[in-house]
């Protein structure tokens, strides 16, 4: 467990020891970086997403529900 991870735990505290070695399947590449661009124009962001923990039923079922914004 790296020091930086310990720091991250303080900044983003999670109870982590790190496991699942070998399951990480990221790819490496020698290609040059392609810098991301500035913010692209997009439509209005008017839907609220949230996690619903109510439907746990034996496990923890997050329902992610977009909600039409319509409050005052």
């Amino acid at each position: 467990m790296t020091r930086s991870f310990l720091i991250w735990r303080r900044i983003w505290p999670l109870l982590i020891i790190s496991l699942l070695a070998g399951l990480f399947t990221s790819q490496t590449t020698s290609q040059p970086l392609i810098p991301p661009g500035p913010a692209a124009p997009s439509g209005p962001t008017t839907h609220l997403l949230f996690v619903n923990f109510a439907d746990r039923g034996g496990g923890n079922y997050p329902d992610l529900s977009p909600e039409q914004q319509g409050h005052a």
Binding site: S4, L14, G37, H47, P62, L64
Partner: protein, 306 residues
């Protein structure tokens, strides 16, 4: 208050054993989002793209760091290797970033061409902050903080100023941090804006117009239990005008845990308070938009359903 019957399920799946959904991060353009999971012995994330709803990308053994401004890329850190990856959300190849060892935090510049990093080599050695130029790979250290950890560094949306939190370099998990305004091209401290809750991972968030920051204010700073137990925090959201320095409470809950502040592009602030989702319109009172008890982690999307 809107009717929750208007809500439609977008994604539903049991959390893996010993895991829980810890955070949700919507892309700036609202077309994708990250689910960050916190497990007892590891952590991972899922990427869901509204334009390609059948393809859920699993990001193992690490944590999401930041979206690119155009929402086409993200930064992800593998906690086993320490490697920070630049990941395209369209399924392209991941690119490793050549950041310093011990990098624990990273964020894009508003132009998307640079990445701000924070790194530390060990307890008691403080931290450093610098910039990686993505176009040429050049790394430029900016500032060192011998007695602090720097966290949540972020440019204002217009790029004119920078803000970050300094935490004491201590083994106490939850502390009071300092929210600083800083020069955008060097990270040099300009003005102490406020004392903020620190250690829980609740980043101050810039308003869309770049004039203010909303942050989590700890209401029980003398509670020793709250230094150790994350749920013992009692908090409210405050707003600080970064140019005038004026601080204003947004919420005034008593004995509540208030966090998860996130702005919509058109200036609405959603947040979590005691497992309910609320929305605040500037100059108005906050409005609860969910029933109490089971709702957290608001985020803003551009479209409701694929």
């Amino acid at each position: 208050m809107p009717e929750l019957s208007q809500a439609a399920s977008l994604y539903s799946q049991p959390d893996p054993p010993h895991c829980q959904t810890d955070a949700v991060y919507a892309a700036p353009n609202g077309s994708a989002y990250i689910l960050q999971y916190n497990c007892e012995d590891t952590l991972f994330a899922r990427l869901l793209n509204l334009n390609n709803p059948d393809a859920v990308l699993l990001l193992n053994q690490g944590y999401f760091m930041n979206w690119s401004p155009d929402g086409a890329w993200l930064l992800f850190r593998n906690v086993e290797t320490g490697q920070v990856w630049l990941i395209p959300i369209n399924g392209g190849e991941w690119q490793p970033l050549d950041l310093p060892a011990g990098t624990y935090d990273a964020a894009f510049a508003p132009d998307g061409q640079r990445v701000l990093y924070a790194a530390s080599v060990g307890l008691g050695f403080g931290s450093e902050m610098g910039v990686l130029n993505l176009a040429d790979g050049r790394l430029t250290p900016w500032q060192t903080f011998p007695d602090h950890l720097v966290a949540h560094a972020a440019w204002s949306p217009d790029g004119n100023v920078l803000a970050y939190v300094l935490l004491p370099d201590t083994n106490i998990p939850f502390v009071i941090g300092e929210l600083w305004l800083a020069e955008p091209a060097s990270g040099k401290q300009l003005m102490l804006l406020a004392e903020v809750d620190a250690g829980h991972g609740y980043a101050p968030v810039w308003s869309p117009d770049s004039t203010s920051l909303v942050y989590v204010h700890r209401g029980n700073p003398d509670d020793i239990q709250a230094d150790l137990e994350p749920l013992a925090l009692r908090s409210n959201l405050y707003q600080v005008d970064v140019y005038a320095g004026a601080v204003t409470p947004i919420t005034q809950f008593e004995d509540s845990l208030v966090y998860d502040a996130v702005w919509s592009p058109d200036g609405l602030l959603a947040f979590t308070a005691d497992d309910a989702v609320w929305i605040w319109t500037p100059s108005k009172m906050p409005v609860q938009v969910s029933p109490p008890g089971n709702y957290r982690h608001p985020a803003w999307l551009s479209s409701p359903m694929p």
